[in-house]
């Protein structure tokens, strides 16, 4: 009987040891994981306003978008909130009047509806690329609709950001900076490129000629 008691004690000690090992290992593993909740602010864009009223739709997938990678070291980058802030500000700067919505509106008092979506996020860390920079790519699909819901354009817009490695700078800090550079790049692309998208350009041209002919017929 005493030998059985000793065995039981040993088994419970071994169990505690294994549990402790698991806890320590999982703590160490979680310490190696990189989790970034991208935060920051963007300056106002220096641009002429387009004479348009827009609704920008941020659906749940866009507003809560999180990039997660489990290949190699675990990395997660939450870009949802910051990209909602970015596109809200950009639309307010580029269009004469802009409001936001969480779902596609029906017959809104607007000229265009914009619905951005994240197609892809890629990151590259110095240990993978052998370059001394952290890189972030974000591929957006900016869907443009008329107020009636008729599609105008699917604009694939890529954004890129990088930041150099620094002694004692954490991966979290470096990826946060690279993500912010990528966001600013997306903003630069949006402001300088929106009116140049061929379908949008064509839509703007038709709109201006229609407005002109309507004005002329009213005058007559």
């Amino acid at each position: 009987m005493p030998s059985i008691k000793v065995m039981t004690n040993l088994t419970s000690s071994a169990r505690s040891l294994i549990a402790l090992s698991f806890t320590v290992t999982s703590l160490l593993l979680s310490a190696c994981a990189t989790r970034v909740e991208v935060s920051g602010s963007f300056p106002s864009a220096l641009t002429h306003k387009l004479p348009l009223r827009t609704v920008v739709v941020f659906d749940e997938a866009f507003a809560n978008h999180k990039f997660e990678s489990t290949e190699g070291p675990e990395v997660s980058i939450a870009v949802g909130q910051i990209q909602v802030e970015l596109f809200t500000g950009l639309a307010a700067n580029l269009f004469q009047h802009s409001v936001t919505a969480t779902s596609m509106p029906t017959q809104p008092k607007a000229d265009l509806i914009l619905k951005p979506a994240v197609e892809d996020v890629q990151i590259s860390m110095p240990n993978e690329s052998q370059l001394k920079v952290f890189e972030v790519w974000i591929k957006y699909n900016l869907q443009v609709f008329e107020a009636s819901g008729e599609p105008v354009a699917d604009w694939i817009m890529t954004a890129y950001g990088k930041t150099p490695t620094r002694f004692l700078k954490s991966n979290t800090e470096a990826l946060q900076q690279a993500s912010m550079v990528a966001m600013r790049d997306a903003g630069a692309h949006f402001i300088t490129g929106f009116a140049r998208v061929p379908e949008v350009q064509q839509w703007l041209y038709h709109r201006s000629t229609n407005t002109l002919s309507a004005t002329n017929s009213t005058r007559l």
Partner: protein, 225 residues
Amino acid sequence: MKPLFALTALTLLMTLSACTTTTVDEYRENSTALTLKSGERVVVLGRRHYADYETEPDFIDCIGNTLKADKKISVIPEKKFTDLLYPWFEPRTAPLGLKRLAKMLNEPLIAQRFREQGLHYMIWVDGSTETTDRDGSVSCAVAPGGGGCFGFATWEKTSTYEAIIWDLQKLKESGRVKVEAKGSSYMVAIILPIPIVAQVQDQACDGIGQQLRTFFKGNRANEAS
């Protein structure tokens, strides 16, 4: 006696500073000094469009601080400038040449912002600091009774930068300064690791900043004498 010897050796090692060699080259369009009227300012910007490196923002800040050290040159911080002109000086949109800048200034909104800020000169800095050589190793170990490091490591860093001055009123290049700084750093570890680090980037910043200052009126040695 032994602790005294160890202390002396340690002090000697700590006071040793790693050597850095700095070479500065300059090119001036003409011998006339660059003038800044009251309220006129300079902006120093880093090139960030290359894939494999980017000019470090802290290096740009360092040059700005060197330029305005004697309070004769007013410098707009890089971040403030790029925010004020957003999105026209991002890596994707920044002008790489004077022709492109001239075209950009045809846009009244941008030209007005330049005037509001009193911008007269724009200095573009391109380059980076790289570790060019590495040798030796330092190993550290921790045991229940204590721990320590042992070994010797050395690494060499090279800073290569070029600064180009653009006159925004005449829309022409006023001059260039190129700097190359090299330095070897060491790490000696006998229980405690003692790094002797060469301040390569700081030397490059000092070299390029001091040389850029000589381009501006009131900072030239011959005018002072």
